[in-house]
């Protein structure tokens, strides 16, 4: 029961994109169409889970014993970067069209604050290894959910006649704002 609450907490209540406002740049960049959004979510879930698993181990086995806590951020970024490189190659070989569609945003996951955010949050909230992985899965699902919902809305914008000044990112930012307003309804759900 605790784990379900953990996942729901990470995915809905303090959703990474809509409540914590992490990972906004891929959120805006990749949400043009639903299939790229799904592709991106898969990539993020994979990277986030592995990253939090590896970073937790590094933190627990290497950083704390040698008192190198201050190296935390750089080490984490290094791990995430290599993981992203791995994912990038796999996707490029497995489905080139998805690779073309994701384009610049795939390497961008490296600097994606959501992924790094999960790793650091795991340490701050003092989760156990298992907890941090589940938290990462929850966070990634939350990110993916928000991304796919947002992509659904933005695909409808093709058909609307949005005033020229608002087309593209401005309307996306306004919609993301209202979406996070809606997700605030979940606040206080999990203590």
């Amino acid at each position: 029961m605790y784990y379900i609450l953990l996942i729901v907490g990470a995915a809905l209540v303090n959703n990474f994109v809509l409540s914590r406002f992490l990972g906004i740049c891929p959120f805006m960049g990749v949400s043009k169409s639903i299939d790229t959004a799904v592709g991106m979510s898969m990539a993020v879930i994979f990277v986030m889970t592995l990253a939090s698993f590896v970073t937790w181990l590094i933190n627990d086995l290497l950083l704390i014993p040698y008192g190198l806590g201050y190296l935390q951020t750089i080490a984490f970024i290094l791990v995430i970067a290599s993981l992203v490189q791995l994912v990038e190659m796999i996707i490029q070989r497995v489905s080139p069209p998805l690779y073309q569609a994701l384009g610049i945003f795939l390497p961008l996951i490296t600097t994606n604050c959501a992924v790094l955010g999960v790793a650091i949050l795991n340490i701050q909230l003092k989760y156990s290894l298992l907890d941090s992985c589940i938290f990462a899965v929850g966070a990634a699902l939350g990110f993916g959910l928000a991304l796919v919902i947002f992509a659904g809305i933005r695909e409808e914008f093709e058909l609307n006649n949005i005033p020229k000044a608002f087309r593209g990112t401005p309307i996306a930012l306004i919609t993301a704002g209202i979406l996070s307003l809606a997700f605030m309804g979940f606040s206080g759900l999990v203590k």
Binding site: L62, Y66, I74, A75, L78, V79, A81, L86, M89, P96
Partner: protein, 318 residues
């Protein structure tokens, strides 16, 4: 210690880099940056990225992008190490002068405001089968905002913005808009193939095929026949303007009629917005007093007209 992690990671990546190798030509990226990026499809490819790929890979590929300017062309030639030749600059020209009051419409059209949609119902509401329906399909498809609907119900091309990408030529259901080289100076405002005695019934400003222009033109750059309006061969035309003077229905017009902006004194509130937006500083004046447009400097781009809150600026033919 961080080096340790770095080393381990590098090892993994090295192995996987070999197994998943797919390379992409860096020159393609550089060429893509030079292209305008409007993905207008005039080069016949899906978008600028596809065209950049083609011109990098295929050595004989021609520079088919009309919307590229001179220095971008030079830059691309250096990147690819071969001369891409000059993209002949073209400009769109509207071959119809039939304003609603000069022509007869056969019925009141009810339906979507789009020429292509109107054309498929009973062949369009205008009595002339070749005349412009004025519902703005060309304006909708122009990616550069270079064509707009004038008060006279006909499209006007803004020379400064038009890149000759020919999207409006395809959009017009009656093929009224044609591409004319920028070097050319005169265009015929009618493409009707009907005999003049029939055309007179429904259009007062069409080409009546009298042939006066053909006779007077010293360079026989203009040809007229019984069932085709006057056509100017731009390569021969020396822009002497004789044909314009003899044409009874003044169908032939000077191509580069630089549309000028002129301030309507009584409407102007002196807010100065036009002065700020004018790209060539052709507008001067003091706040709270009517502003003035210097016609020699003005290139007729129409930015001031779009921005003016009081609609106090009008387009005039200089």
């Amino acid at each position: 210690m961080v080096g340790g992690i770095g080393f381990v990671a590098a090892l993994i990546l090295g192995i996987s880099a070999v197994t998943f190798a797919v390379e992409m030509d860096p020159r393609e990226k550089a060429v893509l940056d030079q292209l305008p990026g409007a993905n207008c499809g005039a080069c016949g490819f899906a978008g600028c990225a596809a065209f950049a790929h083609e011109i990098t890979e295929n050595v004989e590929a021609e520079m088919a992008c009309p919307a590229v300017n001179e220095n971008a062309l030079k830059a691309m030639s250096e990147i690819l190490g071969r001369d891409l030749g000059g993209g002949a600059a073209f400009i769109a020209f509207v071959g119809c002068k039939g304003t609603p009051d000069q022509t007869i419409t056969r019925y009141n059209y009810v339906g979507p405001r789009d020429c292509r949609a109107a054309q498929i119902i009973a062949g369009g509401s205008k009595a002339c089968a070749y005349g412009c329906l004025g519902l703005g399909s060309c304006v909708d498809v122009c990616p550069f905002g270079a064509i707009h609907m004038g008060e006279d119900g006909l499209p006007h091309v803004v020379e400064a913005k038009c890149t000759g990408c020919a999207k409006c030529v395809d959009a017009c259901p009656r093929q009224i808009i044609r591409l004319i080289p920028k070097s050319g100076n005169y265009g015929v405002g009618c493409i009707s193939k009907d005999l003049s005695k029939d055309m007179k019934q429904y259009c007062k400003v069409g080409c009546i095929k009298c042939g006066l222009c053909e006779n007077i033109c010293p360079f026989d750059a203009i040809t007229v026949s019984k069932d085709s309006s006057a056509v100017i061969d731009q390569s021969k035309c020396r822009s002497c303007g004789l044909c314009v003077s003899v044409c009874p229905t003044s169908v032939i017009s000077f191509l580069h009629t630089p549309l000028k902006a002129r301030v309507i004194v009584e409407k102007c509130k002196g807010c100065g917005i036009c002065d700020q937006v004018c790209p060539v500083e052709a507008i001067t004046g003091k706040p709270k007093e009517p502003y003035l447009v210097n016609e020699s400097k003005c290139i007729g781009c129409g930015l001031c007209i779009d921005k003016c809150p009081a609609d106090a600026i009008e387009r005039i033919v200089s």
